[in-house]
């Protein structure tokens, strides 16, 4: 996949907690990406095998529909880790908030 700013932003958020589940809106908010960009990006990551997805257990979703979650696969952790390592050296990503990922 092409290394774009949205991808790097999502990678930063996900790699900060590589073992947890992520919701679409949470990723959108934390990464600061519009959902019009985020959801197609997540689809591409799913296609690459970097993510698994699933639906929240209905028992956990009280008074609302179950949400779709995404979690990193082993491949995804490896690829996103490598992507972040490369992106850190690129000036166009220098302005990003790297947080714990640096």
């Amino acid at each position: 996949m092409r290394r774009t700013k949205p991808l790097v932003k999502v990678a930063i958020v996900m790699m900060a907690h590589p073992n947890r589940r992520f919701w679409g809106y949470y990723l959108s908010r934390e990464a600061g990406i519009r959902s019009g960009v985020l959801y197609p990006l997540l689809d591409r990551m799913l296609g690459e095998g970097w993510l698994n997805d699933g639906w929240e257990d209905p028992a956990e979703a009280i008074d609302r529909p179950p949400r779709r979650y995404y979690e990193l696969t082993d491949d995804g952790r490896r690829e996103l880790g490598a992507l972040l390592a490369r992106a850190q050296n690129e000036t166009r990503f220098a302005s990003l908030d790297w947080g714990y990922a640096r």
Partner: protein, 275 residues
């Protein structure tokens, strides 16, 4: 005491009640309603139809309108193309329709060569009517392209139930009830378990019996029974979407329990001698 009465009267007044219900409608009902209308632009069965409303309900009410507005972009740039792709996969212009439009347009051009402009507009209108009428009245399955050309659409589709378009044995179209051979032990473990039809979906009890009689390999390893399944009504999937395992020719009806295992719950017919 008078103040309490005045306050009660004020709260029960039409402007106060109107404002209250207005807030309820604007912040409680309309965001979800609008979003659910918007996601209708996605093709039926698309995962985003459920995902976006579910994400919205996670938000506090005062932020929902902003979320809905944001999804307008998502729907327009992702949902609409997905719907168009799906539409193009399912229905393509037939040659006869293209001829109709072409001839009509040619007639319009010939007439416009005589200095008349209105025939051009009329012919365009007729062409458009032909397309609309033909699209609406097209028989189900006509022009269906069984080989989807866009893997992205498939990837973004949910794991739709694998079903029944064609009988595995005779090839005829299956109805809402399908039959199949399933492991007796597996199918009886519970109504909510996934049941693997070792035979694939069959259109009738007769086809199931023939499959059992002819396909001795289907029950060589384990006893199987004929089960009847009520297939949940949902949009048809392309035949190549089916979760077909080429290694053993079996289907998984994900989460589809046997609808009526009793009554048809009989052992397969013995294989004919010499078969």
């Amino acid at each position: 005491m008078n103040e309490v009465k005045e306050l009660a009267a004020h709260l029960a007044s039409w402007p106060a009640l109107g404002a209250f219900f207005g807030v309820v409608v604007v912040f409680g009902f309309l965001p979800g309603f609008t979003l659910r209308l918007l996601v209708k632009l996605y093709p039926p069965g698309h995962v985003r139809r459920d995902q976006l409303p579910a994400d919205m309900y996670e938000l506090p009410r005062h932020k929902r309108w902003f979320f809905v507005a944001e999804q307008l972009e998502t729907v327009l740039f992702e949902g609409l193309p997905a719907r168009l792709r799906r539409r193009l996969q399912v229905r393509r212009f037939s040659i006869s329709r293209a001829w109709s439009i072409g001839v009509t347009a040619a007639l319009g051009l010939v007439m416009s060569a005589n200095g008349l402009d209105w025939p051009v507009y009329a012919m365009f209108a007729v062409s458009a009517c032909i397309v609309v009428v033909a699209s609406v009245t097209e028989a189900p399955g006509e022009g269906r392209n069984s080989e989807p050309d866009d893997a992205k659409t498939l990837a973004s589709s949910p794991p739709e139930m694998v079903d029944q378009d064609l009988c595995e044995l005779c090839g005829s179209s299956c109805g809402p009830v399908v039959f199949g051979l399933a492991s007796a032990a597996q199918a009886r473990t519970g109504r909510d378990t996934d049941v693997e039809l070792v035979s694939g979906a069959l259109c009738s009890l007769r086809c199931a019996r023939v499959a059992a009689a002819m396909g001795t390999h289907l029950h060589r390893q384990q006893p199987v029974l004929i089960y009847q399944y009520q297939v949940v009504e949902q949009p048809r999937v392309e035949i190549t979407h089916l979760d077909h395992d080429p290694t053993d020719g079996s289907f998984d009806l994900h989460g589809t329990p046997p609808a009526a295992p009793t009554g048809l719950d009989e052992p397969p017919a013995p294989a004919p001698s010499g078969a």
